[in-house]
């Protein structure tokens, strides 16, 4: 089961033909320097995340997705850069705007759609939805909504590895600048510092927490200054510049992996959508949208890759078509899948009483 889930993204990159770094299951992921291979792979994943999220918005507006849809548009470069530098055996706890990072870590278009649409074949089986998904037993934590809570959870995963004498694993988690105001975040960061854990915490400072601007969220002029207070290494990335994000986060992950302790990465950017699809985000001033912060990371990445000769326009267009087709086909398939049947539920929250464990991974077999 585990293997299937993890093989999928590598398998997909291999089918791109020109990407040859991944012959079979790699023992390690690419080195942190920005290579042609990981830049191409990152761009491809960003594209997948973007196109998939556009579909999620359509499904929400047509009433197929109930509840809420929270997108990461504009934050894909930062998000993918953490997921792509993690590898099997690491611990990853993504948050609201991390579709790209999730896919880099092994999540799929299929399971994303299944979770949003509540398919009983998805990893969450309709019990939880949207961004609240993961496979904790595979190091992919399923966020709770309460912001800040995942920092210490990742610390715990890393402590377990330390107790067992396993070395070389890294934990990664992301949070918005608003989430850094929680007690949980402070406690988690402080604890990570005290225990000198190999954790990388990426703060996406998109200037707003729902409608609340940063001057109502924190009084320090630079969130990066907090790194010193926690006794952890701080790094800054340009949030909508894929090359910079890949480089900075890649170095942070390498540093954590080689025993240099916790790493805090802060990146400025803008979300190019509302807080959720119900929100038109009129509180974001036009001047900010027109500033460099408001530049779309996907467009920037494409331009850079073309300039470097790492990607051709034809390839990029071809990728888009392939992904659009996959998203459409997967969406149609998932819409026909069974939804949970209340009369077949065991309505049990206890592992020791669980009669439905065997259903957990059923989706992967199909």
């Amino acid at each position: 089961m585990l293997l299937i889930c993890w093989e999928l993204p590598y398998y997909k990159t291999m089918t791109l033909g020109k990407v040859s770094a991944f012959e079979g299951l790699p023992a390690t992921k690419p080195s942190p320097e920005v290579t042609r291979e990981n830049a191409r792979r990152a761009y491809r994943i960003m594209l997948e995340a973007r196109i998939l999220e556009e579909k999620l918005a359509v499904l929400y507006r047509s009433g197929k997705i109930v509840g809420g849809v929270f997108l990461g548009r504009g934050q894909e470069a930062l998000s993918v850069s953490l997921g792509i530098h993690l590898r099997r055996g690491d611990v990853y706890a993504p948050l609201i705007r991390d579709q790209a990072g999730r896919m880099a870590f092994g999540d799929t278009i299929l399971d994303t759609l299944r979770t949003y649409l509540g398919s009983s074949l998805g990893s969450m089986r309709g019990r939880d939805g949207n961004i609240h998904r993961g496979r904790p037993s595979e190091g992919y934590h399923a966020m709770i909504s309460h912001l800040g809570a995942m920092v210490s959870t990742v610390c715990g995963g890393l402590m377990a590895k330390r107790f067992r004498g396993e070395t070389g694993a890294v934990g990664g988690t992301c949070i918005g600048e608003g989430g850094t105001s929680t007690g949980s975040f402070h406690e988690g960061m402080n604890l990570a510092g005290v225990e000198k854990l190999p954790i990388v915490v990426v703060v996406a400072n998109n200037q707003f927490s729902y409608s609340t601007p940063n001057d109502r969220q924190f009084a320090c002029s630079d969130l990066l200054a907090r790194a010193e207070g926690y006794g952890v290494r701080g790094r800054r990335a340009v949030g909508n510049d894929l090359m910079d994000c890949l480089g900075v986060i890649g170095e942070a992950v390498s540093a954590a992996r080689s025993g240099e302790g916790p790493q805090l990465v802060v990146a400025d950017l803008l979300r190019l959508v509302g807080h959720g699809e119900h929100d038109d985000a009129t509180y974001i001033p036009a001047s900010m949208k027109e500033s460099p912060l408001g530049k779309d990371c996907l467009d920037l990445a494409r331009t850079t890759l073309l300039e470097k000769g790492w990607l051709t326009g034809e390839e990029a267009d071809e990728w888009r078509k392939i992904v659009e087709k996959e998203v459409e086909e997967t969406s149609s398939k998932v819409l026909r899948e069974p939804v949970p049947d209340p009369s077949e539920e065991d309505w049990n929250a206890f592992s020791c009483l669980d009669s439905q464990q065997h259903l957990l991974h059923q989706g992967e077999r199909q």
């Binding site: 509840g67 609240h132 709770i144 608003g178 105001s181 609340t212 924190f218 509180y283």
Partner: protein, 322 residues
């Protein structure tokens, strides 16, 4: 006046409180210019400059701030974005606000508004009903209004009371419930209300479940039964007298709650009736609560997880046959 929703009643109560009492201020995430995640404070920041403030995502500190301000004589209202996030302020609520008067003789008049209860697609962290948890702690008043009128008058009452009040407003009622006008008079504090008179069985409910109970009672008229519905209004203090008087009339009791059964409000009601009114019962008292799992995301699961008019009606039929 056009129809007033439950949500608008909450907004109007806050407006009136701000107008009439200079000690009142509101603190919560996104409640300023944005008017709140549900718009319960729409336009209030503009109307009352400096008194309706955006808070950082720091629930523990938000409640702590309210406690400190209350000690100084202010009347803070804290809006939690969702009831579920109040757990991040739990320590301040149950250990500081709830204990303050008992320990020091100083009162702690604050209101914590909890947008509560399930909605389709809400999932485990945007759906919780937390009244039983807070009611467990001596020193906290817990209100669970079921009507537009109560949402309005009880919130004003909450602000006026000298104790910390946990105000559980139901999100599912926000837009669904409407009233033509708001009342000038208030039912006495802590008093339950007979929402429907009947003689065959009593359903005790509160918040959104009052409406499921009323619909079930209506359904049972077709079976020839006449069901009484008691709306608790506040779950702490709890109006045992009204409950016992109703059970004395009907002889049968079903308690309905959207929260989990374990140690909950329904359990408390049944314990009181069993200990104080055992002789009034013609059948074992029953309860109907949410199923004992986190609140599920998929609407099909959610619709079965919580009690509904039809599951209340089924429970009533069983109770009437006992």
């Amino acid at each position: 006046m056009s129809a007033i929703t439950y949500l608008e009643a909450i907004r109007l109560a806050q407006q009136k409180a701000l107008q009439e009492d200079p000690r009142v201020f509101i603190y919560g995430q996104d409640i300023g210019g944005f008017g709140g995640a549900f718009k319960a404070t729409k336009n209030l920041a503009k109307e009352f400059p400096g008194r309706v403030l955006d808070a950082p995502i720091s629930e523990d500190a938000m409640v702590g701030l309210a406690i400190g301000a209350a000690v100084e004589g202010m009347r803070p209202i804290i809006e939690m974005q969702f009831a579920d996030f109040s757990t991040c302020g739990f320590n301040q609520i149950v250990n500081q606000a709830a204990t303050l008067h008992y320990r020091t003789g100083t009162s702690c008049p604050l209101v914590v508004r909890l947008p509560s209860g399930g909605t389709p697609g809400g999932g485990p962290f945007h759906s919780q009903s937390m009244e039983a948890i807070y009611a467990h702690y001596p020193g906290l008043i817990v209100m669970t209004p079921a009507t537009v009128e109560d949402a309005y008058t009880m919130l004003l009452e909450a602000v006026a009371l000298d104790d910390p009040v946990i105000f559980c407003e139901h999100k599912f009622l926000y837009y669904h419930l409407k009233a033509d006008k708001l009342p000038d008079t208030v039912l006495p504090f802590g008093k339950a209300r007979i929402a429907r008179q009947g003689r065959d069985a009593t359903v005790v409910a509160y918040s959104a479940m009052v409406h499921e109970a009323l619909a079930a009672a209506e359904e049972l008229t077709h079976d020839g039964y006449d069901i009484e519905v008691v709306d608790l209004r506040t779950v702490r203090p709890i109006d045992t007298d009204t409950i016992l008087a109703s059970v004395a009339r009907t002889g049968r009791l079903l308690v309905v709650g959207e929260a989990w059964p374990w140690g909950g409000v329904a359990a408390e009601v049944i314990a009181r009736v069993a200990t104080e009114g055992f002789g009034l019962l013609d059948a074992p008292p029953q309860r109907l609560n949410a199923k004992e799992t986190p609140v599920p995301y998929h609407p099909a699961l959610w619709g079965t997880h919580r009690p509904t008019a039809s599951s209340v009606a089924n429970s009533l039929r069983q109770l009437l046959e006992l």
